[in-house]
Amino acid sequence: MATPAIEIQGLTKDYPLGFWGHKSRRSLDNLNLQVEEGEVFGFLGPNGAGKTTTLKLLMGLIFPTSGTARVRGKSIEDIGMHREVGFLPEQPYFYDYLTGHELLDYFARFFGYGAAERTERVKRFLDRVGLTAAGGVQLRKYSKGMLQRVGIAQAILHDPSVVFLDEPMSGLDPVGRREVRDIILDLKQQGRTVFFSTHILSDAEMLCDRVAVLVNGKLQGVGAPGEIVSLEVQAIEILFEARDGRPLPQNLAGRATRLGARYSLQVPEAEMYATLDQLRASDVRILSMQTLRPTLEDYFFRLVGGGKNASHAVEAQTR
């Protein structure tokens, strides 16, 4: 059996509270997760859910209260694990006295590349994230989006097998988001594992092989976006318009929603044919029909809504 790319077992993190630290706040609660090689894995959850805590634990920036994790079979306490991974922190900030080129060169030195290879890699990865022209500019002059891109470049500079990205789309304009999506898809094509946290559910739905949802430090569900939300059809939406601006018959007017010159009608699947007969009899023009299924967003909000009270309890405890 192949070694999973990421294996997390019972990972828990408590933060001490107060001056003496007698009380504590649980930020991550017994997380168990497995990510396979080559997967694009989305880590979803509202603010304060424990996503960044998980990533910090995996990167060795903080230490677990209990539990273990392995990346490509290596413990997160093993320094050798860091050769296998790349990491983009949330809202990255780098040495503002360095240029983009100097920053990547600095990080490349930690992997022992020679001068020629460093130069080649820095040039290649600056180009990859669209910063060739800005490579000689000091980072203090970079926009938020540019910092995000140079952050991605430093994360993948050494061709890591597993890439951890904390909110990679955050602060990017639509073009920037598209570019990051392309980079993630590119990494997947190269067989690399990508583990990223995000708030942007459409991106997760579009990119991820599987997602996990975390609320209040607890894992709520894991699976393919199409699996964790029910595939059952919720309703049928019929879009139609009245001919020559004629008013709708009484039986339809009360049920349809007006959208400008058009009307939308949502009916249960079982009533679809009867409704279509009614529409035909009313002499309206049917424009389109589509099935309505719950989205990842619906699933996410259902979970988050359920955890809201607990979330407030945690906040109150920290005050």
Partner: protein, 263 residues
């Protein structure tokens, strides 16, 4: 391919040096130090007969004071700034151990201080040359005094770095300054214990004396200004003492920093 563990602190050190070199505040400090040394020329000219003594004393004091300001104020921010701005996040995700980062930061600041001290020493040499005094063999003591200042700065930087691993820059500055000032009077603290003839106080002052860095021994300004030679034994003793003390402080700093949760 991997970089050797010995090589990695060097990578961090070069970057820390680059950071300091690109910091404008540092140039202001060097400028003021050189101004002080320049002012020594004029003070020397009105000090009939003791021109040499005044210029060397003021010059070495300027090198020491401005070196201390740099060591403390840059030292206390070395680690804290990286944690606060989260530049450490990306760095520590690379195959670099925390102690390597810490030693690299320390070495980078020490390199900066060595370069700055050399520049200021050149300024002092230029001031002595300007007043038309020929260099004599006993002037070698000035270089010994500068070397002692550098050893002192190495100790102070290690202390500043140690405190910055678990404290804010403001508190770290206070702690480092406090230890520095107490360290100057380490000898007096021990002598006080002897004078009291109370065995409890004697033991307490003796422990304090051995724990505190003894900065008193690093002051060779008087010998330099009067042209007295500094015994070779003292040079060797101070070098060994500084190396050991810095080593212990850095090991303690690394032990704390290695278990610290990043914000």
């Amino acid at each position: 391919m991997s970089a050797s563990p010995v090589f990695l602190p060097g990578v961090v050190a070069v970057n820390a040096f680059r950071e300091a070199v690109r910091d404008r505040v540092l140039y202001n400090l060097i400028f003021f130090a050189l101004m002080m040394i320049g002012a020594a020329i004029f003070v020397g000219q009105i000090s009939i007969g003791i021109e040499r003594l005044v210029i060397i004393n003021l010059g070495l004091s300027a090198i020491s004071v401005f070196g201390l300001i740099m060591a403390i104020f840059i030292g206390v921010g070395l680690v804290y700034k990286e944690m606060e701005k989260r530049t450490l996040y990306s760095l520590l995700s690379k195959p670099v151990r925390r102690w390597q980062f810490l030693v690299g930061k320390y070495a980078g600041l020490l390199l900066t201080l060595a370069v700055n001290t050399s520049l200021m020493t050149l300024g002092l040499g230029a001031a002595l040359y300007y007043v038309g005094r020929p260099f004599v063999r006993s002037d070698f003591t000035i270089l010994v005094a500068v070397y002692f200042i550098l050893l002192e700065l190495a100790l102070v930087t290690a202390l500043a770095l140690f405190f910055s691993c678990f404290s804010t820059p403001m508190l770290s500055t206070l702690f480092t300054l406090g230890i520095y000032i107490t360290g100057i009077f380490a000898q007096d603290i021990r002598d006080f214990g002897i004078v009291t003839r109370n065995p409890v106080i004697l033991n307490i002052t003796r422990v304090i004396y051995y724990l505190l860095p003894n900065f008193h021994n690093f002051n060779a300004m008087s010998a330099a200004s009067h042209g007295f030679p500094v015994p070779h034994e003292l040079i060797a003793q101070n070098t060994l003492y500084a190396l050991l003390y810095v080593g212990v402080v850095l090991i303690a700093a690394a032990a704390i920093f290695s278990r610290r949760n990043m914000k």
